[in-house]
Symmetry: C2
Subunit: 455 residues, 2 copies
């Protein structure tokens, strides 16, 4: 009797919580209460609440409970619940939560429900609906196609071909076919080509080969680069229990990579990517995409003014020193950018890892030394002939040290960015130029002070 | 009798020409003589000469003559001739010629011979062998896969499926199937999916749909970008008579695009692409990939020294002016790079064309004005507070004019590069920075002279 009363009151309180405004604390309370209520009561509540409440409650249930509730529902209501889950309001509630809360409170939906949920939706509807799954915007689960033609390990090649023939019109691809075991657990893949070539009686379990897969929560860019570097035609997507939830095809991957490339290219020059084409963007939009970084860089460049101020007196003594400022800072910026671009690219394609930091520094030190030696000798000769050997020596030594510094800094920065979890492209070319400008000026005036014997 | 003698002597002279060193003038003579010799004589010569001579002669024949000669050869010798054509020496001779001569003297081989020539070769052998076809290194014909499973328009879907099943192991792809008419002329494509879905009695002529194709001589990057932007899974490659010679698949395309991207990225920072990974490249190789551009840029930067020399006296009067040099040139470089990167990208994806030059200039003038206005006001306030209103005015006005100049020049240069037929990336970021440095200094000192009333 005691238990009964507690339970009834928990169910009542759950109903109350659902009928209020669904904000962060309500979601929290619903999650708590759902653990105290029996499967039967939960099923009843999912069945009898308003569409929005029913969807929210179902969405918050633990995965195994959700499976049981779904299976307990009358078949007609299963379709209704799926419809409710597709409502934009439900997606809004999930999206409106803090990402951490979202990950904690909204676990993955059962794989079977996921695929049914998105069947028949076009790409845009799908992108909206996948929000309800709790995948963050950057997760590959948002981009996969849930309509996947999967085969069962028990079938023969002939049976499988029958299924392919019967369902040929629906799925996004039929050229790579995931093979699943009990509970939709992914076992591997069979290509349509192998299926056609196989003896009709061969069981799929003998033909299945291991597949490169992505988890639905994997970062979209990482999954796409993986897809491309393995030259796949399709890639199964699984949930945390290795159950098949969708398939990624080449057009999804190319859309993602096009967007990421546009972003990287824009960032490399210190601007934000445009969300529409250049000629159709308004002037204000173009200005906004550029002004932030330009301001940041201009403010950082005040550093160079301050450095020069320190040396103002010496500049006044030997005004010739000012003539070489743009040449020296320019060379530093160029050398730094060359190194940074090379290392950023090597990081992107996986040729260099964070642990290679030491090797990269040692390489760039030597490359910088050789580049600096060539430029330095030339600088010594040319500046020496025009302005005398002392100035020549200052310019030559500065070019040498600026090149060493810039190549090392340029090689170092992308790796540091990656180590602290930032995009290596954050240290964009303009950023490295600005940094090398300030450092180069300090080197220049230190060398000039020493060589020319200035006070 | 007269004719007979002429012909015999032409055949003799042809034999003589073939037995000498095969250089430009020999190839010229062989081409001339081959027009004066009968089909029978030509067939005999191809049949009886040494392997190298036979391959060279065959390669020089006009396309229609080559088809006839090939068909006249005893079947056993057809295979031998194909083997001869694969010899590296033949490729060397073709490659050794000036590209213009090559295009003139070595027409396309008959489509049937092309596909047979490369059957069974792996990717590397193929790349070497395609040289003999006379395609330049940048042509997509070098990268296509000649083992293509093509279907005939007269077949039914069931007959086509039979052929697919029988030949499933050979070709690079079976998911997109080119359909040809008489003489291998491409009519369109059928996807394997449509073939499986079709009623078995449907004739292919009813199922075939138009296909996006490439000509074998198309530039490899253009063909690949086309492939990707249309989200294809394969693309038939045809010769100038629209006869099917091969098929391009996703992995060929990704190889090309990876290489082109690496090149563009390297060039954008003024270095040459490495032909192996960063960590496995020798220090000397790294230096070589960077030193040329660095020298070019350093020599161009001498311009900035000369500009400053012109203003040396004024610098001597107001040494404070020197303090702002790196900030002003840096801002100019950054603004120029933002515009250049945006426009280069827009050109690459086809959003901007050469004829949009005027629109781009007008947009960048306004964007540069707004960016310059924001930075200029800030510069006026900050520099004015520290160094007085006159210096503040100089800095503010210079920032305004430098931003207008740099945005316009940055937007302009990639389009000009494209108009003169160069890669827009030739005007790399460092190049634009250097140009903006020199121009910015002239603006700076002109404004300073006017505002401060210097002599």
């Amino acid at each position: 009797m005691e238990d009964m009363t507690t339970e009834i009151s928990a169910a009542d309180r759950l109903e109350d919580a659902l009928s209020g405004r669904i904000d962060h604390s309500a979601v929290d309370a619903i999650a708590d209460l759902s653990h105290q209520v029996s499967l039967q009561e939960l099923t009843r509540l999912v069945h009898t609440s308003t569409p929005l409440q029913s969807a929210v409650l179902f969405r918050i249930l633990d995965k195994d409970v959700a499976v049981a509730v779904f299976e307990n529902l009358p078949p007609g209501y299963q379709a209704e619940l799926l419809q409710n889950l597709r409502e934009p309001e439900v997606a809004d509630i999930v999206e409106g939560l803090d990402p951490d809360d979202r990950a904690e409170l909204f676990g993955e939906l059962p794989a079977g429900v996921v695929t049914q949920l998105m069947k028949g939706l076009d790409a845009d509807e799908r992108k909206m609906t996948t929000a309800v799954l709790g995948y963050p915007k950057s997760a590959i689960g948002r981009y996969m196609s849930p309509e996947v033609l999967s085969l069962h390990e028990d079938w023969t090649a002939a049976e499988a071909m029958e299924v392919v023939r019967a369902r040929i019109d629906g799925p996004e691809t039929v050229y790579l076919l995931p093979v699943v075991g009990p509970g939709r657990v992914l076992l591997g893949v069979v290509s349509l080509r192998n299926l056609i070539a196989a003896d009709p009686d061969t069981p799929l379990s003998e033909m299945v080969r291991e597949s490169i897969t992505a988890h639905a929560l994997t970062d979209r860019e990482a999954a796409s680069r993986d897809f491309l570097s393995h030259r796949l035609i399709a890639m199964p997507v699984v949930d945390q229990e290795e159950r098949l939830v969708g398939i990624l095809t080449m057009d999804d991957v190319l859309d993602i990579v096009d967007e990421e490339d546009a972003e990287d290219i824009a960032r490399s020059s210190g601007s934000e990517p445009l969300d529409r084409s250049y000629l159709s963007s308004s002037i204000i939009r173009l200005v906004r995409s550029r002004i932030v970084w330009l301001l940041v860089l201009a403010v950082s460049a005040i550093l160079t003014v301050q450095v020069l101020e320190v040396y103002e007196e010496r500049l006044d003594q030997v005004v010739i020193l000012a003539l070489f400022i743009p040449l020296l800072t320019g060379t530093g910026g160029n050398t730094g950018n060359q190194a940074a671009t090379t290392v950023t690219r090597a990081l992107a394609v996986g040729e260099v890892r964070i642990r290679d930091l030491g090797r990269v520094i040692w390489r760039e030190l030597r490359v910088g030394f050789l580049l600096g030696a060539v430029l330095g000798v030339l600088g010594f000769i040319v500046a020496g002939l025009v302005y005398g050997p002392a100035i020549g020596l200052v310019i030559g030594l500065t070019l040498l040290s600026v090149c060493i510094m810039a190549a090392t800094v340029g090689g170092l920065m992308p790796i540091i960015a990656k180590r602290v979890g930032a995009d290596p492209a954050v240290f964009s070319n303009p950023f490295i130029s600005t940094f090398c400008d300030a450092t180069g000026l300090i080197l220049y005036f230190s060398i000039a002070t020493a060589v020319l014997g200035l006070r």
